[in-house]
């Protein structure tokens, strides 16, 4: 239930503006890959090209290939809707649907596939997904209550439960802890550790300690200056990137001597 991603010669544009230039990266299945780098270096933009969320923004487009186990996401005839149901996403700010109960939030993605599901199956899936997101014990007595009534950290785990309920191949996380307190952050990081047994996880983070804690491999993105495209500087085992990077820019960044 997890696939690898290989990106070849990817250029990402907003209209005429080249935002991210010439990325080549291989993301292993059943592992956690972290993207780090300074603000505006294009790591979030690049992440959003991995499930074709980038093109939701008017004028945004992509050149190059993103291969999910060899299948090009940007190939002719590929439906972005299908891509997104295979590659789930968790956003920076927790975004459960405010008009839905906790239960309906978890089932939101599954119901899209128009499968008729018995109540028993749905209940089992809700429990399994919430268990998977380490949230079941906290919400099992109030599944019919609105998801927006939960704390920020719980909402974020609800969003993760919603993402894994559709059983994706890959889960993308765009700074999932940046709006959370340290305890909620720890809960999410523990969860990421559990998730990699089943899923390919890609996480964008501003927090280098977090990247060091949760990821197997780390990719460092950087930008030469305002208006210049972001670039992938180097990618490698997390331990290597943090202790013995090959590039000077990486070393400056991870040691805090940046800028």
């Amino acid at each position: 239930m997890s696939k690898r991603i290989d990106v070849k010669d990817l250029n990402v544009y907003y209209g005429k503006f080249l935002a991210v230039e010439d990325v080549n990266i291989n993301i292993e299945a059943k592992s956690v890959t972290a993207f780090i780098g300074p603000s505006g270096c294009g790591k979030s933009t690049f992440l959003r090209t991995l499930n074709r969320m980038h093109e939701v923004i008017p004028g945004a487009r992509v050149e190059g290939e993103v291969l999910l186990d060899g299948d090009n996401l940007y190939g002719p005839g590929v439906d972005p809707v299908t891509v997104r149901s295979q590659i789930g996403m968790v956003f920076q700010r927790p975004n459960p649907f405010p008009t839905m109960s906790i239960r309906d939030n978890v089932l939101a993605g599954v119901k899209l596939n128009n499968q008729k599901m018995s109540k028993g199956e749905a209940d089992a899936l809700v429990e399994r997904s919430l268990q998977g997101a380490n949230l079941w014990n906290e919400v099992k007595d109030r599944l019919a209550k609105p998801g927006s009534g939960l704390s920020g950290g719980q909402q974020q785990r609800l969003c993760i439960a919603r993402a894994i309920a559709v059983e994706p191949q890959v889960i993308l996380m765009d700074e999932p802890c940046s709006a959370l307190d340290p305890i909620s952050t720890l809960a999410i990081e523990d969860l990421i550790n559990d998730l990699k047994d089943q899923y390919t996880v890609v996480i964008v983070t501003h927090n280098m300690q977090q990247a060091a804690r949760v990821s197997d491999r780390t990719a460092f993105f950087n930008i030469a200056g305002t208006g210049k495209p972001g670039k992938l500087i180097e990618v490698g085992d997390t331990h290597t990137i943090f202790s013995n990077p090959t590039q000077k820019a990486t070393e400056d960044y991870v040691s805090g001597r940046f800028g």
Partner: protein, 310 residues
């Protein structure tokens, strides 16, 4: 630091606060006073008609017998207008907010807003002189093919000046109100929720069902109620379009009347008790509109927990 520096406050800032809260309070009180004044006027002026002996009221059977056919006529016309206008308005609003290319969207938005700027007497003239004539063949068809339904019972009006025509004209008039309000609401849907839906593998329409419509629901209800308010109170268009008469079930025969049009058509020549009767009719319209607004509030508050406002 002494304690006085804490208790002393900047004079100018405080004065600004006081002026603002005073002005806000005055504005709030003024609204209440105007509303109360209108209500009081209606009640006081209506009392003679309400207490008069039945045979003195127009029709000779008392105020209730006089008012209920036109209450129902009013409601029928408003319902026709909303049934036609609401789906169209929501569709247009969604098209503008989520489907149309940006250039087309703003152009279409202006055109819709322009519809709201046309005076109601112009709509009335259009309905009476053009629409009624053009639509009467359709009424014939309805009478022939669906006449078994009481609402389409024939013979259809030859002039086309029926309550259905009036309802259609009203629909065109309330369309811009519902459309522009819904459009504003739809545009305010948080990007976050739209992206959440898309990232789960929703198509654009599924995203709209999942994020946009539930989020906009209270706004849509408000928009429809504002439209309903206009449809209930609209006077000139109905007065010009409708060839009024007694209450009939058939929508395609001439007949029926609305409160507002009844008042407008009869007030200039009324005197004495007749004036009171018409004002009492106005009071009834006032109460209906008030009731509609309260129901709307109730509908919106029922789902407060899930509104997204928290």
């Amino acid at each position: 630091m002494t304690t006085t520096s804490l208790t002393k406050s900047r004079g100018a800032g405080r004065a600004g606060d006081k002026v603002f809260s005073g002005a806000a309070l005055a504005a709030g009180c003024l609204i209440l006073a105007v509303l109360f004044g209108v209500a009081l006027f209606l009640v006081v002026q209506a009392i003679p008609a309400l207490v008069a002996s039945p045979d003195k009221i127009q029709g000779g059977e008392g105020f209730f017998a006089y008012i209920w056919p036109i209450v129902i006529g009013t409601v029928i016309a408003a319902i026709i207008a909303l049934v036609i206008a609401t789906p169209v308005a929501i569709g247009v609003a969604l098209f503008i907010s989520h489907f149309a290319p940006r250039g087309l969207a703003s152009g279409l938005g202006y055109v819709i807003d322009l519809l709201a700027a046309i005076p109601s007497v112009v709509y009335g003239a259009w309905g009476a002189a053009f629409l009624a004539k053009e639509i009467s063949p359709a009424y014939d068809w309805l009478a022939n093919n669906m006449g078994w339904l009481p609402i389409f019972q024939g013979p259809a009006s030859a002039t086309g000046k029926t309550i259905l025509t009036a309802g259609i004209v009203l629909a065109v008039m309330v369309l811009p109100i519902i459309t522009s309000l819904s459009r504003e609401i739809f545009l305010q849907t948080p990007k976050l929720h739209e992206e959440a839906a898309l990232a789960l593998g929703a198509t654009r329409w599924e995203m709209i069902k999942m994020a946009v419509l539930p989020f906009g629901r209270p706004g849509i209800v408000s928009a429809v109620m504002l439209g309903l308010g206009r449809a209930l109170g609209e006077t000139m268009a109905v007065a010009l379009v409708l060839s009024s008469g007694a209450l009939t079930a058939s929508l395609i025969q001439s007949g029926n009347q609305t409160i507002a049009a009844e008042i407008a058509l009869n007030f200039p020549e009324a005197s004495g008790l007749k004036v009171s009767t018409l004002i009492a009719a106005g009071l009834v319209l006032f109460v209906i509109t008030l009731g509609v607004n309260m129901i709307a509030r109730w509908i919106i508050s029922r789902h407060k927990e899930f509104s997204g406002a928290n």
